[in-house]
């Protein structure tokens, strides 16, 4: 009796050790590329592209300087403009839409909802050619504000969908009480509902920002010089010969930094927002 309970305990602790080990291996697997990128950014070019991977070296800021010399600040500024405007557009439009899909329901919610959801699955390759042609015709290619509007529209379905699931969690009694007190709809949204769903709005805004900040394909095709954003700038270093590994890593670290910090800070909301978007 005593012996059997000891074996279960020791087998349980062995299993605990195993799961912990597996967890650390996974952490390493997901962390290594990020870690390696940061490390390479501080190497001189010769060391970054050496055959034997180097882990210990004297850090230099050569890569960062080169990236800045190549005009990275301008690309970062474009990315920021596009991401901020896109986020504002999708959030401002998504709040009333999500409200009308959850609290004050439109008839045939299901139809509008399926429409929103299905637009999420449009293959990018199917959108980009016509978009390119029409922007070329009206002379809005390589225009950062146009790119921002495109991103805003692209993010809209996700934002609406995500916010709606947060709106659905607002207790109806609170809204009813506000209505009894004679609050109009505008007041109801701004004073009652929004404060309650603020974490959800923040999560949706953050995810919208990250999508726009990281977007590569549309930026590559719809911009060329003055409106070029950071991802295509990074992509221009990928040449299959790996000559610019240190510069690229430095530039990529700068580009990833805001997102990583935001992801770290808003971890809880992000996880919740992401899963809300998928599940509900």
């Amino acid at each position: 009796m005593n012996g059997s309970s000891t074996t279960t305990r020791s087998s349980r602790s062995a299993r605990g050790a195993l799961t912990t080990l597996v967890t650390w291996v996974l952490v390493l697997l997901f962390f290594f590329p990020v870690f390696w990128m940061v490390l390479n950014g501080f190497k001189p070019e010769s060391l970054a592209s050496s055959v034997d991977p180097t882990f210990i070296f004297k850090p230099v800021t050569e890569g960062y300087q080169l990236a800045m010399d190549r005009g990275m600040a301008g690309y970062l500024q474009n990315s920021l403009t596009a991401a901020v405007i896109a986020t504002i557009i999708s959030v401002v439009l998504a709040i009333p839409a999500a409200y009308a899909l959850s609290i004050r329901r439109v008839n045939n919610v299901e139809n509008s909802l399926s429409f929103f959801i299905s637009t999420r699955f449009m293959p990018l390759a199917a959108i980009v050619l016509p978009l390119f042609m029409i922007l070329k015709t009206v002379g809005l290619l390589d225009n950062i504000y146009m790119l921002a509007v495109v991103y805003g529209a692209m993010n809209l379905p996700v934002t609406v969908w995500m916010m709606r699931s947060f709106f659905l969690e607002v207790p109806f009694e609170i809204i009813e009480a506000a209505r009894v007190d004679g609050a109009g709809m505008f007041r109801e949204i701004v004073r009652i509902v929004l404060p309650l769903v603020l974490p959800g709005v923040a999560a949706a805004a953050l995810i919208s920002f990250i999508f726009a900040w990281n977007e590569y394909f549309l930026a590559l095709l719809l911009t060329s010089s003055s409106a070029r954003t950071t991802p295509p700038f990074l992509g221009s270093f990928v040449d299959g010969r790996g000559q610019f590994l240190a510069v690229l890593s430095a530039a990529a670290t700068i580009a990833a930094l805001p997102v990583i910090i935001a992801g770290w800070a808003a971890q809880k909301q992000l996880v919740r927002g992401l899963s809300m978007g998928a599940i509900k």
């Binding site: 605990g16 799961t19 912990t20 996974l26 952490v27 697997l29 997901f30 962390f31 990020v34 390696w36 990128m37 592209s49 055959v51 991977p53 009333p96 839409a97 409200y99 009308a100 439109v106 299901e110 509008s112 909802l113 399926s114 959801i117 299905s118 637009t119 699955f121 449009m122 293959p123 390759a125 199917a126 959108i127 050619l129 016509p130 978009l131 029409i134 495109v150 709809m185 990250i210 990281n214 590569y216 991802p231 295509p232 990074l234 992509g235 990928v238 790996g242 590994l245 690229l248 990529a252 580009a255 990833a256 997102v259 935001a262 992801g263 770290w264 971890q267 996880v271 998928a278 599940i279």
Partner: protein, 297 residues
């Protein structure tokens, strides 16, 4: 009565701007694709010459060419492998996150978030370096372990190209799936599991009969999302091709459209492939949207 109809009209007004934007931003491209797919639309048309109406010619040419079928088959297999792998690994990781201590779980969660938030181009460059044939860490490691991998080029052979691409795509999609399924798992009440354990259910039985049925909706939705996303994979394949793969032997639907349109300037054919791809996607997402609606009601 007027108040009843106005109370219905107001929410409609709230949603109309969004619907309009989506209709313009997404409806217009679809319309353009469908029309262009029935036209001869090449380089000259790009510079303003009127396109010639050719009916089903683009489609007949594509379907009889044989290459399109290869690309479709490739895309579907690649999409099935990636989506299946992602959900299996992500689900396993979600179960693991439940089993380990809180600090270990939090660190894994942060690692997943950081990997998810990395710009695709950025993580692609690291991955391209990992598999690089001259100075990649993969060859270095395998050679150290006693294999003969010095100078082995992983991107030249289509099969190993796709293996590399699948690993990268799965690596990029696992965070989202793992976090979603984990969120679903937190809904499973520990009391029920404890009761089952007291009744003598083994770990496997608890997983099979209690946990899996409860998270089945989340898993099926995440799986469908992955299927659709992996069918339209583009950036990863394009950048791997740039890094040394042969485009013709490694094209998937996304890169094929790109090659036809931007590369060869045959916008009519590119539009026809886009329409085919759209039909495939709609066929898949239709089921998804319907199952989601059932879930809600």
């Amino acid at each position: 009565m007027s108040s009843a109809s106005s109370s219905r009209r107001v929410p409609l007004a709230l949603i109309i701007p969004t619907l309009l934007i989506l209709l313009v931003a997404l409806g217009y491209p679809i319309g353009w694709q469908v029309i262009t797919s029935f036209q001869h639309y090449g380089m000259l048309q790009q510079f303003g010459q009127a396109p010639e109406w050719v009916g089903l010619d683009n489609y007949t040419a594509l379907f009889t060419d044989g290459y399109l079928w290869v690309v479709i088959a490739r895309s579907i297999v690649f999409c099935l492998v990636c989506a299946g792998g992602t959900v299996a690994i992500g689900g396993g990781m979600a179960l693991l996150m439940r089993a380990v201590s809180t600090p270990a779980r939090l660190i894994l969660q942060v690692a997943l978030l950081v990997a998810w938030a990395m710009p695709v181009v950025t993580s692609m460059t690291v991955w391209i370096w990992i598999v690089d044939w001259r100075r990649g860490v993969l060859n270095w490691l395998l050679t150290r372990l006693g294999g003969d991998f010095q100078g082995h080029n992983w991107l030249v052979e289509p099969l190993s190209f796709f293996a590399v691409a699948a690993v990268i795509v799965i690596w990029m999609s696992v965070p989202f799936v793992a976090l979603s399924i984990y969120a679903g798992l937190t809904q499973v009440s520990p009391e029920v599991l404890e009761a089952a354990q007291i009744d003598g259910a083994t770990g496997w039985q608890r997983l099979r009969h209690i946990i899996l049925p409860l998270i089945a909706p989340v898993v099926s939705i995440v799986l469908l999302l992955q299927l659709i996303w992996d069918l339209r994979v583009f950036t990863q394949i394009k950048l791997l091709q740039d890094a040394g793969g042969f485009a013709n032997e490694t094209n998937l639907l996304g890169t094929y459209i790109y090659q036809l349109g931007t590369g060869a300037g045959d916008f009519g054919a590119a539009a026809a492939v886009s329409v085919i791809m759209l039909a495939l996607t709609v066929a898949m997402s239709w089921y998804y949207v319907r199952s989601l609606m059932k879930e809600e009601s």
